[in-house]
């Protein structure tokens, strides 16, 4: 079982590298989706079915949205050479990160054996105090409901922002008279880069 776990882990790492390095943007999106699916199976192995379900559904949504919004501009590819200084500095900082992470991880408790102080309290009292037999729901919507409110606010604000920014173009579509009232810009008046990007 542990072999399967580690092979999935290696699959995740390889898939991420492919998603970054491949030239075709559609293939990159599909590689990222494969990594997400493998990650959801990893969550199942770690005994977190809640996170696994959320990961699967979010991954499907991300895949659909990314494919729908990138499939029309799949000719984006990098042709020029990369910056040597950027590669060198990122390699140095990655090495530094590995060294310090190795030193820091010596002090952590062993994998799978967390310090059960707060969590043991939850495990013992959650079902009695909140009435929810799914302890995770009892924690995130009762003990830690304030955190969840903040999380929901973040989602709400980000989606509101995205909706407003993207909607600015589509707002005029409903009325036919806009061309007379406001004056939709002619094709020549549009910014040149925009027209080229759309074509």
């Amino acid at each position: 079982m542990l072999i399967l776990f580690y092979s999935l882990l290696i699959f995740c790492v390889v898939g991420s590298i492919i998603a970054i390095e491949i030239r075709n943007i559609l293939a990159s999106v599909i590689a990222a989706g494969a990594v997400g699916m493998a990650l959801s199976i990893l969550f199942l192995f770690l005994g977190a079915p809640d996170i696994a379900i959320t990961q699967v559904v979010v991954e499907i949504i991300c895949l659909i949205v990314l494919i729908r919004s990138t499939v029309s501009l799949d000719n984006t590819s990098i042709t020029k050479h990369r910056d040597t200084f950027a590669i060198l500095s990122s390699l140095i900082f990655f090495g530094l990160f590995l060294v310090f992470a190795f030193m820091a991880f010596q002090g952590l408790p062993k994998f799978g054996e967390p310090l059960m102080r707060v969590s043991s309290y939850y495990v013992e009292n959650s079902t009695r105090q909140t009435g929810a037999s799914n302890i995770i729901m009892g924690i995130i919507l009762d003990y830690r409901a304030y955190d969840t409110l903040g999380e929901a606010t973040v989602i709400f604000t980000s989606i509101l922002g995205a909706f407003v920014v993207l909607r600015a173009k589509g707002k005029k579509r409903k009325e036919e008279f806009d061309q007379v009232k406001v004056g939709i810009p002619e094709k020549e008046d549009l910014p040149k880069a925009l027209v080229e990007a759309e074509e």
Binding site: P49, D50, G131, L141, I159, K169
Partner: protein
């Protein structure tokens, strides 16, 4: 004829009820089994996205337009906040003020059930709204240029 082929439309017509039912089940049983409001809401949004992809934008906008999607998003967020405010009737913010029944029942967990439904409504509407914004409204300028070319 907008949308995808006849096969996709038929399969969508057969499956769409089951998808919505599964999303509602995941939401309502969030405090008993793995799942919860977030996952259930995204499954319901997936159902709407499937309608959009299979039947085209006219059908899906007829079922849930962008205006109503953003309105329902706001209603879900406000009701989540309102449940937290109602906790003051029992003492403090987000107090679980409803009487708790025996565990493993559907209405056993007080406000957790209500919060799950509020999150489900919020997430379903907002994810569908952002899908509309990304796929349909983004095509506006290109459609405009195309229609001018036809003229």
């Amino acid at each position: 004829m907008e949308g995808m082929t006849f096969i996709v439309k038929t399969i969508t017509r057969l499956l769409i009820g089951a998808i919505f039912l599964f999303g509602i089940y995941i939401t309502f049983y969030g405090h008993l089994t793995p799942g919860g409001g977030f996952a259930g809401g995204i499954i319901i949004a997936c159902g709407y996205i499937l309608i959009t992809l299979a039947f085209g934008k006219k059908v899906s906008l007829g079922k849930l337009s962008d205006f109503w999607a953003s309105l329902i998003d706001n209603i879900g967020a406000l009701s989540f906040w309102l449940i937290g405010i109602l906790g003051y009737t029992g003492g403090y913010f987000f107090m679980n003020f409803i009487e708790k029944a025996k565990p493993f029942g559907l209405f056993s967990s007080g406000t957790i059930f209500a919060i799950n439904i509020a999150i489900c409504i919020k997430v379903a509407a907002s994810i569908f709204a952002v899908f509309l914004a990304l796929t349909i409204f983004g095509k506006f300028i290109s459609d405009m240029i195309a229609s001018e070319d036809e003229d």
